[in-house]
C-alpha cells in the first residue's frame, strides 16, 4: 500500500474529509460546448463566507483543496482566497482555463506554492480548441498563461477531454504539453448537466471510438493489460465502496451547497445554513452514500466487470439511481474488453464495437 493509499484508508477509518473540491464561481469567460454548468450567478458566497468555510474545512481535517469553477479568475478575490487557503496549510490545486493569467497572477500562484494548476486544452489547433470553448483566441491566451506559469516554476497539468470533435488531436496536445514542460492527462468522460439534461452526452465518444482509444498505448499504457477480460469478482470487491465520494471527499458549490462529489449532485446540505462538519457527519444523504457497497448495487453486483469497472455513482445518480448502473461506464468496460455488462444484457443494449460494424450486429464475447 502506498503512503497515499495508507492516508486515504486512515481518513476513511476516521471519517475525515481528506479532499474537498470547492467551486468559487460558476461564471466563466468561455462557453465550452460540453460544459455541465449554468454560468449565471445565483448568489455566490462572498469572500468572507468562503474564508469562513475554509476555516471549517481546515478544522475538519481537509488536506487537499481544489479550487475550480466556472473560471476561478472571474472572481477578483480569487488569489486572496488562495492566499487564505495556503495560510491554513491546505494542499491547493487550481483548475483554470489560464486565459486571464498574466505575470502578476503567475508570480503570485508561485509565491503561494500551489500544488499544481490544471488547464483544459482541447486541441493544439486554434480552430478546434476555440470552436469548443466558443471564445475566439482562447487557445492562444491559455497557452500564454501556461507559459507564464511554467516560467515561474508552477507545475501545470494539461487536461484533454476527448470528444468526437477533437478525437484526433490528443497527440498534438500531448506534444504541446511536452514542449511546455507540463504534464498531460486525458479523459473521455462527459458529464450530464447538473439539472439532469443529458444532451451534451452526444458530444462524447461512441463505443467504437472508445474501443480504438483504449487500444492506443500512448494513452493507456499496456494495452493487453488495460483491455484484459475482468478477473472473477470476489467477496472483497463486493464489500468495497464504489469510490471515495462522500467517504473522504466532497464538493461545495459557489452557493454553499454540499454534494458527495462534483460529478454527484445529490444535495446534502448547505454551509450557509449548517456547519460543514455537521453536514459531513450527519447528512442523511452522505450517510446513505456511505452505506452503499458494491454488493448493494442491484445490477452491477452481478456483473462480471464489477471488480474493475470505473462505475461512477454520480453518473449513475444522474441516470436516475445511485445504486444503479452508469451506462457510460458500462460502455467503457465493453469498449475495453468486448464483454457486455450485466446492464447491457438487462436492457438488450449491444452497441457496435467497431464503426464499420452495423449497429447491433456486433459479435458478443460472453
Amino acid at each position: 500500500m502506498s503512503l497515499m493509499e495508507e492516508i486515504g484508508q486512515r481518513a476513511l477509518n476516521r471519517d475525515v474529509p481528506l479532499s474537498v473540491h470547492l467551486d468559487v464561481t460558476y461564471r466563466c469567460n468561455e462557453r465550452c460546448v460540453h460544459c455541465y454548468l449554468d454560468h449565471n450567478d445565483h448568489g455566490e458566497m462572498t469572500t468572507q463566507e468562503i474564508c469562513g468555510v475554509l476555516d471549517q474545512l481546515a478544522d475538519a481535517g481537509v488536506f487537499f483543496l481544489t479550487f475550480s469553477g466556472g473560471e476561478v479568475f472571474m472572481r477578483r478575490d480569487f488569489l486572496d482566497l488562495v492566499e487564505y487557503a495556503r495560510s491554513l496549510m491546505f494542499s491547493v490545486k487550481v483548475k483554470t482555463n489560464a486565459f486571464m493569467i498574466k505575470e502578476k497572477e503567475a508570480q503570485r500562484l508561485d509565491d503561494l506554492a500551489v500544488q499544481d494548476v490544471q488547464v483544459s486544452i482541447y486541441s493544439h489547433r486554434p480552430e478546434v480548441h476555440d470552436a469548443i470553448t466558443l471564445l475566439p483566441g482562447s487557445l492562444k491566451r491559455s497557452l500564454a498563461g501556461i507559459r507564464l506559469l511554467r516560467s515561474h516554476g508552477v507545475k501545470v497539468i494539461i487536461a484533454n477531454v476527448l470528444m468526437m470533435r477533437n478525437l484526433n488531436d490528443y497527440a498534438g496536445v500531448k506534444n504541446l504539453a511536452n514542449e511546455l514542460g507540463a504534464e498531460f492527462t486525458n479523459d473521455p468522460t462527459i458529464t450530464p448537466m447538473m439539472d439532469g439534461n443529458r444532451s451534451v452526452l452526444q458530444l462524447g465518444l461512441g463505443v467504437p471510438q472508445l474501443h480504438d482509444t483504449f487500444r492506443k498505448s500512448d494513452l493507456v499504457g499496456d494495452v493487453d493489460e488495460f483491455c484484459a477480460p475482468p478477473p472473477p469478482v470476489n467477496d472483497g470487491a463486493l464489500e468495497s465502496y464504489p469510490c471515495s465520494a462522500g467517504h473522504t471527499l466532497c464538493y461545495i458549490s459557489p452557493y454553499g451547497d454540499v454534494f458527495p462529489c462534483v460529478q454527484f449532485p445529490l444535495p446534502s446540505g448547505n454551509v450557509r445554513q449548517q456547519k460543514f462538519i455537521d453536514i459531513w457527519r450527519y447528512s442523511d444523504q452522505l450517510n446513505e452514500v456511505r452505506s452503499i457497497t458494491l454488493r448493494d448495487l442491484s445490477v452491477c453486483s452481478g456483473c462480471g466487470h464489477a471488480g474493475t469497472c470505473t462505475r461512477c455513482p454520480g453518473l449513475a445518480y444522474l441516470e436516475g439511481n445511485m445504486r444503479g448502473p452508469s451506462t457510460q461506464d458500462c460502455e467503457k468496460s465493453f469498449a475495453r474488453t468486448g464483454i457486455p455488462s450485466a446492464n447491457m444484457h438487462t436492457k438488450m443494449y449491444y452497441p457496435a464495437l467497431h464503426s464499420s460494424t452495423p449497429h447491433g450486429l456486433v459479435q458478443i464475447a460472453v
Partner: protein, 105 residues
C-alpha cells in the same frame, strides 16, 4: 553549543490526521507523514523556540525518552526535513519575513 532554531517552510501543505502530521512539499509533491514525536517537533517549529528547548519542554515531557538520545534524534530529524526543503534551520530566530524571503521551495 549555539542554539538551533527551526521554522516550518511556507511552501508546504500540512494537516494533522489522527494525531500525526501529513506534509506535502509544493516543490515536488513528495508526501511525508510524521510520527507523534516528529509531529510535536513540527508543531513547535515556530522559528523562535530553540530546538533544545522544544526537546526539553515538549519531547521529554510528553514521551519517555533519554534527553541525550532525544536531542540527538531531534537534530537528525530536523536536518532530514531541512534536506527535503520542508523545514528551515538557522542559528538565529527566524522571522516570518525571513521565511518568506529565504524559505526553501
Amino acid at each position: 553549543m549555539n542554539p538551533v532554531y527551526i521554522a516550518r517552510s511556507t511552501a508546504v501543505a500540512a494537516r494533522s490526521l489522527d494525531g500525526e502530521m501529513m506534509i506535502m512539499s509544493a516543490k515536488d509533491s513528495t508526501l511525508f507523514t510524521l510520527n507523534p514525536v516528529g509531529t510535536v517537533i513540527w508543531q513547535s517549529a515556530d522559528g523562535q523556540t530553540p530546538l533544545a528547548e522544544i526537546v526539553e519542554q515538549k519531547i521529554c515531557a510528553q514521551f519517555e525518552v533519554d534527553p541525550a538520545d532525544a536531542a540527538r534524534d531531534a537534530e537528525s530529524f530536523v536536518s532530514d526535513l531541512a534536506g527535503h526543503g520542508i523545514l528551515l534551520i538557522s542559528g538565529e530566530p527566524i522571522t516570518p519575513a525571513k521565511l518568506l524571503n529565504g524559505g526553501p521551495r
